[in-house]
Subunit: 395 residues, 2 copies
């Protein structure tokens, strides 16, 4: 008799975005005359850069001619993409070899699958609040999960605790959902902790392109020792609007070993067995992002979102509302006024000003009483939402 | 201290294609004047159909304009693709609902990941010879694997043994590597076995588009009862030359339950956590394949490969060499003449007639003394290879 993986029954049903969508749709149905502005979901809205579209179409054309047709791609991605990514790292002073880079169909795939190569015995540390994928994948794998608190007191930047032992550590900076960023010293503390505990850090750098301040590392590999204890995952989803195009990359330094096993080689063995590489036109598109002209073009979109973030953050400042993010991040994470609960505030905003955000509670215990807005919306809508917000709060 | 997944150490290092490539490249280096013909790898060589390229490029353009931009795709694939796949099934008489179809980035991903939702306690049955992915993924997951023999005696079609108990069963028909196909009665025997054992069959239909004979089912869902015990995986890789484009689909009937758990829902939960859907332009390309004009265009490529298969099979017949496949399959699996070993015959062919194939031994014990050629090569090269082969065998 076939037997099911019972670990799935330990998953907390996450109705976060389903629930916010349902409430929003119900409201729209009941109030068809009202203009609802959605600043809830972390999905981009601006189109791909022209150079990216052209490269992708060229890739399609190549597949349409026998002379240029491409069959199975390399599991690790074409060299021309890996070289482009390595060049991008170089542009902010980090040296990684193209041979340490694996191209994938999005950071979520690697974030979700990477623990395949680790034993179930590992103790996994995640922050609270947290991007749910880190938690759910390890529950599915039957691993013990412990939480490091991110709170108002520590600016939503968890600090390693020497009295707590962890084997695998997930860090996300700039953070989803809080927009907080680990500065160089804070990240160094985690690297030191990992080295002392012989732990491995999975560093999710999906939002690195939003970093504008010098003291915030764009890669964990800016920190000494990280090459011996960290894997970095990044994505073109937010960097270049690839949420629907699907491409990301993972960096696994040659030095990284676990119990004497080379992690890159082990992961390569996993990928070559369970994955067949990324679509050729998508890889062409990815390489175009990192060209000189590509970087220039994507900067326009990033600036647009950054300006939205400034508008939201400015509103919070003006109203004296505590928040993290907004700088170096497309997310603004703020304390619900008047000690309202996250979900109450969600309803309050929707009912009164028709602005949709995400209740912080959906990301963990420490998100209770906090709320997330995103900078990925339309400019005019963002401005209008903030005007409405000011009126609501000022009363 | 981080701990590695030790199951990987039970993997047999598979050097099959690395080894054949090395031997081939060494030969070419030593004999630059010789024309080597490669009929070894199961990768397609003809370009994508024009309608497919156009649809994919249109998808790229849509991503380049704000009005038509697409963000995160649905985890299960866009409805227009799932509806197209359901329509394709209908064309050969099988009814599946679009809600039972999940679109993925290739059948290998789902074949590799699907056991995530099953316990490690399951006994896994695979055939011998076998597509290595079924074996390796289950070794990584720590599951017990048993083998069902495919031999000359049973025409390389394994027969279920009532005295053997299995929980999860992998079947591939038309088969890789042997080209053999389960007819309706043979497949029914497996479905009956699965129902009796409350086992789940993973049916790999990646080569279904090559089926020409009526008594060979194109889908396991042509068999009564299969909806209660089977998951079907298929791919556009061979159907429409998508090896570099990357798109496949998995059918999970609503009726399929394991220990009272709905398999579709459980798999959806896995996918929504560890996967973020398929690239939009690729989904546009996939839908185009199943349009009326698309099916007409891909048929031309399929006919080309089928004609190659006929040429190879015809040669075997002419020489009186025992083989399976060639009909309903792009693979021709033949017995090495003079009781030669697979690897000896590989060297013999390379040295004497510069034709590259794949030693059957690389696919399992029962492949010893057998050899695989593929129909995916160029027509003239295939003809030339067979001319050389005839001379070699006739002596």
């Amino acid at each position: 008799m076939a037997k099911i993986n019972k670990n799935f029954e330990n998953l907390v049903p996450s109705y976060l975005f389903a629930e916010t969508a349902k409430k929003t749709n119900d409201y729209i149905k009941a109030h068809p005359d009202k203009k609802v502005i959605k600043l809830g979901i972390g999905d981009v809205t601006l189109p791909l850069a022209p150079i990216v579209v052209d490269a992708m179409k060229k890739g399609c054309d190549e597949l349409g001619h026998k002379e240029t047709f491409k069959g199975y791609p390399d599991y690790e991605g074409y060299a021309f993409v890996r070289e482009a990514v390595a060049g991008y790292y170089k542009s902010f002073g980090v040296t990684v070899s193209p041979d340490e880079i694996m191209i994938n169909d999005g950071a979520k795939s690697d974030a979700g699958n990477f623990t395949d190569i680790f034993s179930e015995e590992n103790v996994v540390l995640v922050t609270d609040p947290v991007y749910p994928v880190y938690v759910d994948t390890n529950i599915m794998g039957g691993r013990k999960i412990i939480y490091a608190d991110c709170t108002e007191e520590n600016g939503f930047c968890a600090v390693p605790d020497k009295n707590v032992h962890a084997d695998l550590i997930y860090l996300c900076s700039p953070n989803n959902p809080t927009g907080s960023c680990l500065n160089r010293d804070q990240l160094r503390a985690w690297v030191d902790y990992a080295l002392e505990n012989k732990a491995v850090i999975f560093f999710d750098a999906a939002y690195e392109a939003f970093i504008t301040e010098d003291n915030i590392p764009r890669s964990i590999f800016e920190i000494e020792g990280a090459r011996k204890c960290a894997v970095e995952m990044c994505s073109l989803s937010k960097t270049a609007g690839f949420t629907g195009t699907r491409c990301g990359y993972t960096v696994i330094p040659h030095e990284l070993e676990v119990e004497g096993v080379n992690v890159y080689k082990r992961w390569y063995r996993r990928q070559s067995t369970k994955f067949n590489g990324v679509s050729y036109p998508v890889q062409c598109a990815a390489a175009a992002v990192f060209s000189q002209e590509g970087l220039k073009q994507i900067k326009e979109n990033l600036s647009y979102y950054q300006e939205n973030a400034k508008i939201i953050a400015g509103t919070m400042n003006e109203l004296g509302i505590k928040f993290t993010g907004g700088v170096n991040s497309p997310y603004i994470w703020f304390k619900c006024p008047d000690n309202m609960g996250s979900w109450d505030f969600f309803d309050y905003m929707l009912d009164n000003i028709q602005v949709v955000g995400t209740p912080g509670e959906g990301f963990g215990e420490n998100g209770k009483g906090w709320f997330r807005l995103t900078a990925f919306g339309d400019r005019n809508n963002t401005i209008e939402a903030m005007e409405r917000f000011k009126k609501l709060i000022k009363g």
